[in-house]
Each structure stands twice: as structure tokens, then as C-alpha cells.
């Protein structure tokens, strides 16, 4: 009796959803972030629903099973444009293919989960400790001696190795993070070695999923396109990236504002957009996104910046932009913006400046209906796309992150774009609808 009353109350709570993003799953994330009835959470322990958005490659299905099994009961799963794991019973699986139906489906799943009308998701992995320990070792708990053995199923932390900062060599923690860690690019999987909260070693095990760009960038490689559309798509891309950084900084309201702005980018009135962005940027600065949160660390070396290209290179003082080669842009008197420091803070300065510049270019290009003049080099938000698409550059993290404190490292990671460009564009359908919804 009492429980059912509680359950009815809980069924109306904001739906706590843990998103496990597969390939091209971001659109679901951005959509849900703006749905007030959904609460995106960063840990499966805080969620009642596992949302798998986008395709999960077979190599990552085991990791997905692990995340799935980390949900405390009761929970259920929802698959957006993704194939459910085969061993899941039909009752615990809801599949949705339409972005518009997604928030409603999540609310529905949560409600029926608590009203017991939908099956709870079962455990997928065998209930066995990482190493057998029961009844083993000196005291029957798996441990041997002082530090040896596998007490309660795991060995103890590694013995000391040299430290990067001060002369104290203390234990290091080695673990593999990802590919569904919600605070870094989906698909990135890395072995992290921490000493204290400083990253001592970072080795990428699988690169982030390729990132799909707006179709207009792909069109620009084939034919002349409107500069305004190109620049709007660029601004949108950077604003969506900003969402992640603002979420990391704990500025949830501003993060939503960034997404709202991004949604208006494709079709909104450009003068208004530029004005809103100016206000938004001012608020971001006033709230200490730069001064309080972003570290003046994570600077790229010259050759790293060159390899990465795009805004990251320009933030490190490399004055290179494929747009300067385009006659259409030249007629708009396009000039590259650069920063000197090349660190995390400079990269966000650069990106914000490029968003403002994109709005400005789009406004002027729209007035005269300017179009790009060349197709053999397109400056994408990820860097210049000449003969080949910009590839993944995540291995440079192995150089960049060691020595950074955990939060600084994640902030630096969020300021970079390391994923390769997907060969297929993002689907236009979702885009127009999202523009309309906002």
C-alpha cells in the first residue's frame, strides 16, 4: 500500500536518464538536455533509465553490458536508433527511432517502470568477483601478507612510481575509463593512471566516435554553397560543444542557453542571434567560466597544434584558415582570429570569437547572398578539409593530459575536438525539426 503510493509519487518525478552515447547519438543528448521533464545524469547510480543512443560497435558491447549492470534496481532500457543487446528480454527494451518521440518515450518508460507494468532490466553479466577471493589467502578474504593477493576480489593499488610534480612517489591508481563516460567524447576509451588527482599517464585505447557534421559542409566540398548556411552550421557546432564545457563547469543554465542558441542557428534571424550571443557571452564571462573554471593549462605545442589544425591551431597563434583561400570569403573581407597562449582558456576564447565571427560573416553574406567559390578546401569546425577529412587526433592526449589535475584535464579535453570527421553528414531531418521546436 505504502509502496504503491510512493511509486505513484516517484513516477511523476523528473526522469533521471543516463545516456550511453554510441555513434551519432549526440542529437538525442542535445534534445533531451532541453526537455524539462528529463534529468540527464552522469552516473548510472543516479538514473532509472539507460538510454543507448546511436550504434554501439561490437567491441564496445561488453563495456555497455558493464554500464548496464551498474544501474541499481529498478531500471529499464531505451534504445534510440540502436540495436538492443540480444540477451535483453523484450519486456525490458523499448526502441525509439524518432527524436520527437524520445522524451515522451522516456517519461512513459519511467512511469511504467515504477507502476510495474514494464519489466525491470535483468543483470547481464555473471555475478562473479573480478578475481575469486572467498576462502583464499591468509585470512580467507583473498589477501596475502601486507599488500599481496586480491582482497575482496581486487589487488591493491600499484606500488610507487616516480611522480611528475613533487618528489613524493606514492601509489598510483590504474583504471580504464570510457567509452561511455558521459563527461568526455563518446567512444573515447583510455587507460588512466592517477597519482593523487594528477594524471600521471594517459593512453588512448580507442578513439572517439567520428563526429558527423552538418550536411552543408559536405555539400561545400561538391558545389558552391551559401556562406551564411556554412557559418550558421559552424556557430551551431561550436555552441553544442560549449554545452559540454559549461556542464562540466556546473553552469547548467548557461549550458542550456548554449543549446537553445545552437538550435536557433540554422534558421533564426541572424541579427537577433548575434545579439543574443553577445549577451550570452557576457553572462558566461561574468559567471566566471573563464576566470574561475578554465585552467591556464593544457597548452598545445606548436607541432601538436599544427597537426590538430582548425580553431585549436589558431588559438595557439598559427594563422591558418582555409577560408582565406576562398574568393567568396575574401570578398567578405574575412580575416582570421588568433590567440597566443594555446591553452584551454585560449581555445575557448578562440571558439567564442569564431562563433561571433561566424554570425557576423553570416549576416553580411546573407545580405548579398554570397556563396563559396571553391570546393577543394573547406574549413570545418574541426579543421581544414582538403584532400582528406580531418582524422582523429586523440593520441595527442597522451602528451597533453599527464601532469594535469583531473578537473583541469577534463576541461582541457572538452576544449578540444579530437574525433575524426564522419564520412556521412548529420541527418538534416532532425536538424530542421529541432530548429522548429526551439
Amino acid at each position: 500500500m505504502a509502496v504503491s503510493w510512493l511509486a505513484r509519487l516517484a513516477a511523476c518525478a523528473p526522469v533521471p536518464v543516463f545516456p550511453a552515447l554510441g555513434m551519432r547519438g549526440e542529437e538525442a543528448l542535445y534534445r533531451l538536455a532541453l526537455s524539462p521533464e528529463i534529468k540527464l545524469v552522469d552516473s548510472p547510480r543516479h538514473a532509472s533509465l539507460l538510454l543507448v543512443a546511436g550504434g554501439v560497435p561490437p567491441s564496445m558491447q561488453q563495456a555497455l553490458r558493464r554500464v548496464h549492470d551498474q544501474f541499481p534496481a529498478p531500471f529499464t532500457t531505451l534504445w534510440y536508433r540502436s540495436t538492443p543487446l540480444v540477451e535483453l528480454p523484450r519486456a525490458a527494451v523499448t526502441t525509439v527511432d524518432s527524436l520527437d518521440a524520445l522524451p515522451g518515450a522516456l517519461v512513459e518508460s519511467h512511469g511504467s517502470l515504477l507502476r510495474n507494468t514494464v519489466g525491470h532490466s535483468p543483470r547481464l553479466l555473471p555475478d562473479a568477483p573480478p578475481h575469486p577471493w572467498q576462502g583464499l589467502g591468509d585470512d580467507g578474504h583473498g589477501g596475502e601478507g601486507m599488500m599481496g593477493g586480491v582482497p575482496y576480489g581486487r589487488p591493491m593499488a600499484m606500488p610507487p612510481t616516480e611522480d611528475l610534480r613533487d618528489g613524493l612517489a606514492l601509489d598510483v591508481l590504474t583504471f580504464r575509463l570510457g567509452p561511455f563516460f558521459p563527461l568526455w567524447p563518446p567512444g573515447l576509451e583510455a587507460e588512466v593512471i592517477l597519482q593523487g588527482d594528477i594524471i600521471q599517464q594517459f593512453s588512448v585505447q580507442s578513439s572517439p566516435f567520428p563526429r558527423a557534421l552538418a550536411p552543408v559542409f559536405h555539400e561545400a566540398r561538391e558545389q558552391s554553397v551559401a556562406i551564411a548556411a556554412l557559418e550558421r552550421a559552424r556557430a551551431r557546432h561550436h555552441l553544442q560543444a560549449l554545452f559540454h564545457a559549461l556542464h562540466l563547469a556546473g553552469l547548467e543554465g548557461l549550458a542550456r542557453d548554449a543549446l537553445r542558441l545552437a538550435d536557433r542557428c540554422p534558421s533564426g534571424d541572424i541579427a537577433l542571434l548575434a545579439k543574443w550571443f553577445k549577451t550570452f557571452e557576457r553572462r558566461m564571462k561574468r559567471r566566471g567560466f573563464f576566470a574561475l573554471h578554465l585552467p591556464e593549462r593544457g597548452a598545445l605545442r606548436q607541432e601538436q597544434a599544427e597537426r590538430l589544425g582548425g580553431f585549436a591551431a589558431r588559438a595557439a597563434g598559427i594563422d591558418r584558415d582555409a577560408r582565406t583561400e576562398d574568393d567568396g570569403y575574401r570578398r567578405l573581407a574575412f580575416a582570421t582570429i588568433t590567440q597566443q597562449a594555446g591553452d584551454t582558456r585560449a581555445r575557448w576564447r578562440q571558439r567564442l570569437a569564431e562563433i561571433a565571427q561566424a554570425f557576423d560573416l553570416a549576416a553580411r553574406a546573407q545580405r548579398d547572398d554570397m556563396r563559396t567559390a571553391q570546393t577543394d578546401a573547406v574549413e570545418t569546425p574541426r579543421g581544414a578539409w582538403r584532400d582528406s577529412r580531418p582524422g582523429g587526433t586523440s593520441p595527442l592526449l597522451e602528451d597533453l593530459l599527464p601532469g594535469l589535475e583531473w578537473g583541469e584535464a577534463l576541461a582541457s579535453l572538452a576544449s578540444l575536438e579530437l574525433a575524426a570527421l564522419s564520412p556521412w553528414p548529420r541527418e538534416e531531418r532532425a536538424e530542421t525539426q529541432m530548429g522548429g521546436a526551439a
Partner: protein, 115 residues
């Protein structure tokens, strides 16, 4: 009397906190091992998290222990401050000035930075 009430309030809230955690979960089974693994976004750790954790602010912590002792002197001082007048001002001024030297020195040595 006041202390008794304080004690009662502490015990009541402590008990309520424990009860509220224990009561709903009293019939729950022990979670499976995969659920109990630390959340690392699908990844797994090699070892237990408990380790000789490299605290990056240990000089600050030590400085604090020494500096915090000054609080012991300041509270009684605050009570007699108005009654003692200028003398209290002088003594505490000197006291804090001397201790501030310690903090400034620590700052110069980078004690408040991550080691």
C-alpha cells in the same frame, strides 16, 4: 540542560538518518559484483581505489594545523576585547602580524599550489 537537549537532537537526527537508510533497503538482496564495480563509464579498474593517495595540498594542511592554533587564543581574546581596550588591540595586532608572516612565507613558497 541545554547540553542534554543538544545531545537529544544529535541522537534523534543520527538515528533518523540511519533508519531512513536502513528501512527501505532491509529486504534488498546484495547487488551483483558487476553492479558493485566502481563506475568508470564502462571501464574497469585494475586495483582497489584505496591507496596511498597522493594529497596535493599537504603543505597547506600542515600550515593550517599550526595556524589554526591561533584560533584557540582568539576566541577568549574576543570576549575580553572591549573590556581590555587598546591593550587587546596591540596584543592581537602583533600576534596576527607575526602569524601573517608565516602565511606570506608559505605563499611565497607555493604552499597553496598543487604540489
Amino acid at each position: 540542560m541545554e547540553l542534554l537537549l543538544f545531545f537529544v537532537i544529535l541522537i534523534l537526527s543520527l538515528g533518523a538518518g540511519l533508519l531512513l537508510q536502513w528501512w527501505p533497503s532491509r529486504h534488498h538482496p546484495m547487488p551483483t559484483y558487476p553492479q558493485r564495480a566502481p563506475f568508470l563509464g564502462g571501464g574497469l579498474p585494475d586495483t582497489h581505489a584505496w591507496s596511498r593517495f597522493h594529497v596535493r595540498y599537504y603543505p597547506m594542511a600542515l600550515l593550517l594545523i599550526a595556524f589554526e592554533m591561533e584560533m584557540m587564543f582568539m576566541y577568549p581574546w574576543a570576549v575580553v576585547y572591549v573590556a581590555q581596550g587598546m591593550k587587546a588591540v596591540m596584543e592581537m595586532g602583533m600576534f596576527l602580524a607575526i602569524l601573517s608572516v608565516g602565511i606570506l612565507y608559505g605563499w611565497r613558497e607555493g604552499v597553496f599550489r598543487w604540489q
